[in-house]
């Protein structure tokens, strides 16, 4: 019976340890999740900028394509 009691106590400790570990894991998880949201937001921002830049470039490319041969001819 004494040995059983000791075992039960050991399990109590192990359970407490497990609880702490899962708690720690959840903290880390939340940090990583926050980082992930930030990455996603920055990516969205960059994608928006890329789109804007592309819209700026397109007419310039069209202009370059039309004026360059014209100047060669002139």
């Amino acid at each position: 019976l004494m040995r059983q009691a000791a075992h039960v106590n050991a399990w109590d400790q192990l359970l407490q340890q497990g609880h702490d570990q899962v708690q720690q894991l959840r903290l880390t998880l939340n940090n990583v999740k926050t980082d992930q949201s930030r990455l996603q937001a920055e990516l969205d921002f960059i994608q928006g900028q890329q789109q804007e830049l592309e819209q700026l470039i397109e007419p310039l490319e069209a202009a370059a394509a039309s004026t360059t041969p014209a100047q060669h001819q002139g």
Binding site: Q36, E54, I57, E61, Q71
Partner: protein, 78 residues
Amino acid sequence: ELQKQFKQQEEHAGSLQASMNTTQEEITQLRHKHTMVKAAIQEAKWKQANLTRRVLKLVSAQEIERKRGVPLDQTEEQ
């Protein structure tokens, strides 16, 4: 008494297992999203390389035009 403690521990272990499962599920979701974010960033990198190439082409074309245009204007004025 010991039996009661056993019972408690079983409950404790059960709830611990439940929160472990929740955590595992969340981590699985996190990984899934991570894969998508990673792919999207790779795509943004490719797009960036493409934009860089196009901008440099425009810049060099304009540079050539400018160097071609400026002396011509001066000769025309003379």
